[in-house]
């Protein structure tokens, strides 16, 4: 035993607490936070902070490199346990729906509005183009979406699909699920595409509008306009809003890359990228609602009045939700 080696005294005093923390951390790493009892869980942050302060002291007074490196690693591992995500999923979900999502939509209303404008413009374009030249329909609308409806279909065929007298209800549920997963995938995609400075997002939003407009034009030709919109809008309201939100998310990313503002690109992206993710996750939820309406409501309710009532209710709900949910507090 030598006198005068403060770093050795320091280590003797604190080592037991480091070892305790090490034991807890090892168990959390193996079995998650649930591996700890309530008592141990309460002690973890205190032990972590004690280790951090030991690290600061050791950096200042100790030249025993093994001790400094050990504390460095121990603090890092404990940091992961203490600051890893640990909130309950249900709590996160509740907060997301009640506050985070509607607030984020309000915060980025400009980007979302731009996506809505593109969608509307696309719809107008599709309507105008196909009304003028029905031949264009085939090059604008992919088969998977047209479901064998095109300018060559008879009025009766079109009406049958709108009122689902075809008799393949089961297939339609499947089709709705397919559309949901497909749309959600496209939504996630347009978020990621924001990375290309937003150009593909513009195209995607426009293109979605054009398809809708083109199909509308085919039905208008046959005097089925009101029936078509009554068929498409009950699920179209949440679905098109969701597509607009995903487009908006792409624009949020594009904006932080092209106009990073006060912060650098990297930091601005890190700040806004998470918000854009919030928009996409919320949009996926809305697409799921749209899928339910498409798969169930549309096949059981054939009255035009009821269909338009749902359109009105859906629109009102969205206005209220995005306008006021999570305000205050």
């Amino acid at each position: 035993m030598r006198a005068g080696l403060r770093s050795a005294d320091f280590r003797r005093e604190r080592e037991a607490s480091w070892r305790r923390l090490e034991g807890l951390v090892a168990r959390v790493e193996r079995g998650g936070l649930r591996a700890l009892g309530g008592d141990e869980l309460a002690r973890l942050p205190a032990l972590y902070r004690a280790a951090l302060s030991s690290l600061s002291v050791a950096r200042a007074i100790s030249l025993d490199r093994n001790v400094v490196e050990y504390l460095e690693a121990l603090c890092a591992r404990a940091y992961c346990c203490v600051y890893g995500t640990k909130r309950h999923l249900r709590e996160v979900a509740r907060e997301f729906v009640a506050e985070r999502f509607p607030r984020t939509v309000r915060r980025y209303w400009r980007e979302v509005a731009l996506a809505v404008a593109l969608l509307v413009a696309g719809t107008g374009l599709g309507l105008a183009l196909v009304t003028r030249d029905p031949e264009l329909y085939w090059s604008l609308v992919p088969d998977s979406i047209a479901q064998s409806r095109d300018p060559a279909s008879t009025t009766e065929e079109l009406r049958d699909i709108l009122y689902d007298r075809v008799g393949w209800k089961q297939a339609l549920v499947t089709f709705a699920t397919f559309l949901f997963t497909h749309n959600a995938q496209v939504g996630i995609f347009s978020f990621a595409l924001g990375f290309l400075a937003g150009v593909p997002v513009v195209l995607l939003a426009l293109w979605n509008g054009v398809i809708l407009g083109a199909m509308g034009a085919v039905h208008h030709e046959r005097g089925l306009g009101a029936d078509f919109w009554g068929w498409v809008l009950p699920h179209g309201v949440p679905e098109l809003s969701a597509i607009a939100l995903c487009g908006g998310a792409g624009f949020v990313i594009a904006r932080s890359l092209v106009f990073p503002g006060r912060h650098g690109r990297l930091e601005s992206l890190a700040l806004r990228g998470r918000d854009a993710g919030v928009l996409v996750v919320g949009a996926i939820g809305m697409l799921f609602v749209a899928g339910l309406i498409e798969g169930i409501f549309r096949q059981t309710v054939h009255s035009m009045g009821a269909r338009y009532a749902l359109v009105a209710a859906g629109t009102l709900a969205e206005v209220l939700y995005f306008g006021w949910a999570g305000r205050g507090r």
């Binding site: 403060r6 050795a8 690290l55 001790v67 603090c75 890893g84």
Partner: protein, 292 residues
């Protein structure tokens, strides 16, 4: 002494270091995960995703043979969608920033700015996988799915190049960030493992005494090299190293007396030198190496 081992050798070659300041205000040093480690972790995760895909389809096929109608198809579609899009997010939320692959390899996701890893960051960093991994993989394995025949060659070339850049971004970017890390402000690090070893200066009473003048010969750098030498594994070669280092130290500090055991001599010198330098530290005088 310097020629024995460069203490930074292990850092520069193997790991890139990055500092993250904790909410308590203490900077912690992390080793940024290597691209190889991340690739291995991803391949493990991908294998698990594909295996669960296959499992789901097997259930579906079994349902067909059992003669059921196609009521299960929506559930299969939904299941595939959920696995594909929530596997990484679910585990990173559940296991403090690690998927099964990351856990096996020993990697962690951190918030670059310090503080808790939040759910929105985990979600955002995994939403971009669609673009940077699944799409490039599809292009590699089944290009017809992505490009129809009508797509001209130069478009294929350009988008292919762009996808390659997106997928391989960690190879070029600072801190080996992929697009998801950029978007979410996260960082993937190696989980550190350092065992606490016995204190070299604690073991037994000193048999050699050194004067302050002799201890002024070296600085912290040399002390740490000496620590490495003393902690190294005991091999015949190591005996020779000890002898060589002890001879060099004796020459440098002008040690006149004879020495019975080189290792004991070095251990004593290490303890004395450390005490000397630590006393200096307390007074705010640090000495990086013998030239300082």
């Amino acid at each position: 002494m310097k020629a024995l081992r460069d203490p930074f050798e292990g850092n520069v070659g193997a790991a890139l270091q990055r500092e993250v300041v904790t909410p308590e205000g203490v900077p912690l040093l992390w080793s940024v995960a290597t691209v190889g480690d991340r690739a291995v972790a991803f391949v493990i995760d991908l294998a698990l995703v594909i295996a669960s895909f296959a499992g789901l389809w097997l259930v579906a096929v079994a349902a067909v043979f059992a003669g059921s109608t196609d009521w299960w198809l929506p559930f299969v579609l939904l299941g595939l969608f959920l696995i594909r899009n929530t596997y990484f997010t679910f585990f990173e939320l559940r296991w403090q920033g690690a998927t099964p692959g990351k856990r096996i390899v020993g990697l962690r996701v951190l918030d670059r700015r310090g503080g808790p890893l939040r759910a929105d960051a985990v979600v955002a960093r995994n939403l971009t996988r669609e673009l940077e991994t699944f799409l490039p993989l599809t292009v590699l394995l089944a290009p017809a799915q992505v490009w129809s025949d009508a797509v001209p060659g130069w478009v294929k070339g350009l988008t292919g190049l762009w996808l390659a850049v997106a997928a391989l971004l960690p190879l070029f970017s600072r801190d080996r960030l992929r697009i998801g890390d950029l978007v979410a402000g996260t960082l993937v690090v190696t989980r550190p493992r350092v065992a606490l070893l016995a204190d070299l200066a604690e073991s037994r009473p000193a048999r050699h005494e050194f004067t302050a003048g002799q201890l002024r010969a070296y600085g912290e750098y040399e002390l740490h090299v000496l620590e490495d030498v003393l902690r190294a594994e005991r091999t015949p070669e190591h005996r020779r190293t000890i002898a060589a280092v002890a001879a060099k130290v004796r020459e440098k500090i002008g040690w006149g007396e004879s020495v019975a055991d080189d290792e004991v001599f070095l251990a004593d010198f290490y303890a004395a030198e450390r005490a000397h330098l630590e006393r200096g530290m307390l007074l705010g005088k640090r000495r990086a190496d013998k030239h300082a």
